[in-house]
């Protein structure tokens, strides 16, 4: 009898620990929503102006809270990172999955793990103190510029793009490739015309995961891309992303009150965006893991 009740207690305790995930999610939503609510409740702020305004001036006599400059900054930084990182990542994955020998694959895994394991603050340091001076020298960019962050972030997202794409490509059965070789195609033609299209949904997922990672990145953009919120898509300019505004509130001279609450509103927006992208991506990844490729017809 004692054993049975002990067992039941233990299973309830374990259920409780698993439900911590729920508590954490509630905590996140509460923290963001409460702050955002405080922000929107202020008479100086309107949701419409927030979502469509082009001026982000959180302090001073007449503050203005249009989030578009921050969104533009995030788009420029993350989009730019993806623009460079996705082709390089997919290319590297293709090489590792289709062409590389065993030895190369053996050292590739640790190298990618190291790249993934380097803390983002180290990448930020490198972006500001090594890459940025070069960008300034060659292109005459401002001291803080989006370009230096873009370059570094594109390498930061490589590990995730490579590993998910690689998984997707490997999950395509040998027979498909062999059929292609049997018809006289070269390794390259097989890779590009057979493997790539079949793995395309996995590669898409990889790209989305990389994008979400770049959007959520804070330290690289805070250190290297600057803190001036302007609506621009010129990578030589200084920008402020959603994440670096929140970081500025944590460390800068932002007066308590509405500007701090604005950080929660921005955080809420950021949370929603990354959640959506991750949700879509994980759905696609789940499909692959369950042998989803079979549902795609190979032309």
């Amino acid at each position: 009898m004692k054993r049975k009740s002990k067992e039941r207690i233990i299973s309830y305790i374990l259920l409780l620990t698993a439900s911590m995930a729920v508590f954490i999610t509630i905590a996140i939503l509460y923290a963001l929503a409460a702050g955002a609510f405080r922000f929107f409740a202020d008479e100086r702020v309107s949701i419409i102006e927030f979502l469509t305004g082009k001026h982000w001036v959180p302090s001073g006599g007449t503050p203005s809270f249009g989030v578009l400059p921050l969104l533009a900054g995030t788009t420029l930084a993350a989009g730019g990172a993806l623009l460079f990182g996705a082709p390089v990542g997919i290319g590297a994955a293709l090489y590792l999955a289709e062409f590389a020998g065993k030895r190369v694959r053996a050292i590739a895994k640790p190298i990618l793990e190291i790249l993934a394991g380097i803390p983002s603050i180290v990448y930020g340091f490198f972006a500001l103190l090594v890459i940025s001076p070069i960008i300034r020298e060659i292109f005459g960019a401002s001291y803080f510029n989006a370009m230096s962050a873009i370059i570094v972030m594109s390498i930061m997202i490589l590990p995730i793009i490579v590993s998910v794409s690689d998984d997707a490509m490997r999950s395509i059965p040998k027979e498909i490739r062999e059929a292609s070789y049997a018809m006289g195609a070269t390794k390259w033609e097989t890779a590009v015309r057979v493997v790539l299209p079949s793995a395309s949904s996995g590669i898409l997922a990889a790209t989305l995961l990389g994008l979400a990672r770049a959007i959520g990145e804070t330290m690289v953009v805070t250190l290297a891309a600057g803190s001036v919120a302007q609506f621009t898509f010129n990578p030589l300019n200084e920008i402020q992303t959603m994440t670096s505004y929140i970081a500025q509130v944590a460390t800068g001279d932002i007066p308590p009150g509405i500007a701090v609450d604005a950080a929660f509103a921005v955080g809420l927006l950021l949370f929603i965006i990354t959640l959506t992208i991750n949700f879509i991506a994980s759905h696609i990844v789940a499909k692959i893991k369950n042998g989803g490729w079979r549902r795609r017809r190979i032309r």
């Binding site: 954490i24 390089v88 340091f125």
Partner: protein, 294 residues
């Protein structure tokens, strides 16, 4: 006559496509090479800038405003305390949740909902955890900008990764282990505790170490909570704290370029710590693999 021409053309096009193939392989290989070269460049610059600053004083002093006297001792201790406390909070809950999901849970709506939730939590940006940490632990629970608040924040951030890894490690254990134990009348918990968990432990520990190495290097979650300056390490859970990534952050932004060198020296220390943690994880995994009985 025509056949000869056709054969020539066919031969040429085969040669051409093989040539294209070689180019293609070279291009994709260079993509991989880009990553490798970048890594080498990054490590080299950090090391060359910082290596001169590393000496015993650097490791035992506090971060003075004078660059020659500045050290990272309180930051190292702060990071270590943060890590230990994060472990203390995250392991029981994370492993417990994993055991529940892998061994006890039925295939119902709530369980699937939990799994989805955990997956999604893993993708939340770290700065959002920073906001949550300050709103919930610093203000709502009134812990102030303390070691406790910082480690709780890092713990909830690491939890999803730990749960996913631990659950995976438990699932890999073959069914026979459980069936043998249940057949002789053991309860589910007894089965897990004595017949499954011990064998999953090495993988679980490896996963925990990896989750922890992310936590120790993260700056964003503790940006709101950590301090800028302290002469001594924290002496109680409610004290303020310094941490290695925060010190790197502030010194990188310092106007005096000498502090940039100090920042790279701190990076070297942080990377060394991460390297040893990962080394331990790999060693554990290796030892477990060789001893594996299935």
């Amino acid at each position: 006559m025509e056949k000869e021409e056709d054969k020539m053309n066919e031969f040429k096009s085969i040669k051409a496509s093989h040539f294209k193939s070689k180019i293609g392989v070279a291009i994709t290989a260079s993509c991989f090479l880009i990553a490798v070269l970048f890594l080498i460049w990054l490590l080299f610059s950090v090391f060359s800038q910082g290596i001169n600053r590393i000496n015993l004083e650097f490791l035992t002093n506090f971060p003075s405003y004078k660059p020659d006297k500045a050290g990272i001792f309180p930051a190292i201790v702060g990071s270590v305390y943060l890590m230990l406390l994060t472990l203390a909070f995250a392991i029981p809950i994370g492993v417990g949740a994993a055991i529940y999901l892998a061994e006890f849970a039925g295939n119902n709506i709530y369980t699937n909902f939990l799994r989805h939730l955990i997956q999604n939590l893993a993708g939340v940006p770290s700065i959002v955890f920073g906001l949550v940490g300050v709103a919930i632990f610093v203000r709502f629970f009134n812990l102030g900008r303390s070691l406790l608040a910082g480690s709780l924040t890092l713990a909830i951030m690491s939890l999803p990764t730990i749960i996913v890894v631990a659950e995976e490690s438990l699932r890999v254990i073959p069914r026979q282990f459980r069936e043998g134990s249940l057949a002789i009348g053991a309860t589910k918990w007894e089965t897990v505790r004595y017949h499954v968990l011990p064998y999953a432990m090495p993988d679980i520990i490896t996963g925990i170490i990896l989750a922890l190495s992310r936590a120790i290097g993260e700056t964003a979650p503790i940006l709101f909570i950590g301090s800028i300056f302290a002469k001594t390490p924290p002496s109680s859970l409610l004290d303020g704290f310094l941490a290695l990534p925060l010190t790197i952050f502030y010194w990188t932004r310092h106007p005096n370029p000498q502090f940039h060198e100090l920042a790279s020296a701190t990076i070297i220390v942080l990377l060394m710590i991460l390297l040893s943690m990962n080394g331990v994880a790999i060693a554990i995994r290796h030892r477990a693999q060789t001893r594996r009985e299935w």
